[in-house]
């Protein structure tokens, strides 16, 4: 696993929580926009040093993106129930942000990439589409 940083990683998120991931590119959904693709859960160790980013609301998931192509959602309990060692934890630096930890990386060894392809496939099959079109950023007061 390539979560190199543990600073500001908080408690496990409750299983009944639904979390959201913004589609930062169109390939997170298939061409007919009715299925989540495994690329939505690919992790690059050099880009995601503390885990894969998700959020507690659809709006919060797109807050830091210039462009998004929709939002997907997944239930925390479904991730933990996979039995693959994955953990969803709070980000102590941002209460709206959560981290998917222990996800294997795509950019390290072949063994880890093989596992990353399998785990991302399992996650994609559990995920659902919240919005297949761009979600507006929330307006901060």
């Amino acid at each position: 696993m390539c979560d190199e940083e543990n600073n500001l990683v908080g408690d496990l998120i409750a299983d009944e929580t639904v979390i959201y991931r913004a589609c930062s590119k169109s390939t997170f959904l298939n061409k007919s926009k009715d299925t989540v693709q495994d690329v939505a859960f690919y992790k690059q160790g050099q880009n995601h040093k503390d885990g894969l980013s998700l959020a507690l609301s659809s709006g919060d998931s797109v807050r830091h993106l210039g462009t998004n192509y929709g939002v997907i959602r997944i239930r925390v309990g479904d991730i933990h129930a996979l039995g693959l060692g994955l953990e969803v934890r709070a980000d102590l630096a941002d209460p709206s942000h959560v981290l998917l930890r222990n996800l294997p990386c795509m950019d390290r060894t072949d063994d880890e990439k093989q596992r990353a392809l399998m785990v991302s496939s399992e996650l994609a099959s559990l995920a659902e589409i919240e919005s297949a079109s761009p979600v507006p950023k929330p307006v901060d007061n």
Binding site: K25, T27, Y69, M106, Q114, L117, S125
Partner: protein
């Protein structure tokens, strides 16, 4: 990126001496265009994400021209961090992916089988050839 096809065809046209060769070059050019079209849209990339280079595109096309027509036409081509993935699915139960890395000289395959919604078999194999990919695709098309 579209300039790739005329250059590739012109460089090889001097060797064309039969209808079969000409058809072969036409298929190759069509395949290169198919790959280029599949990786061209900006929506396929995150900001600052590396795009596949010409050698990677040619590597993907080289794989595709070696396949059966039904596998050629059913492929889903997807760029990722400078690589190109060629993806095939048989419903929700089986899938095969050919991963063409930067440079396009060698490639890897990943295959996966599911039962009752869970992955029950998966393997990533590096440095494979077109024959191995064809074998994996035959496996994918066969019932579980």
């Amino acid at each position: 990126m579209r300039n790739l096809v005329p250059t590739y065809v012109i460089q090889n046209t001097y060797a064309t001496n039969s209808l079969r060769d000409m058809l072969g070059f036409a298929v190759t050019a069509t395949t290169i265009n198919k790959v280029i079209d599949a990786v061209s849209e900006s929506s396929l990339y995150e900001a600052h994400e590396e795009r596949p280079g010409a050698a990677t595109i040619l590597g993907a096309a080289r794989i595709l021209v070696s396949l059966k027509p039904e596998d050629w036409s059913s492929v889903d081509i997807e760029p990722y961090m400078g690589e190109i993935s060629l993806n095939w699915r048989n419903g929700r139960d089986k899938r095969v992916k050919a991963i063409v890395p930067k440079g396009g000289l060698h490639f890897a395959t990943y295959h996966e089988a599911r039962q009752n919604g869970r992955v029950v078999d998966h393997s990533l194999r590096q440095g494979v050839n077109q024959d191995y990919l064809a074998e994996r695709l035959d496996w994918m098309h066969a019932p579980l």
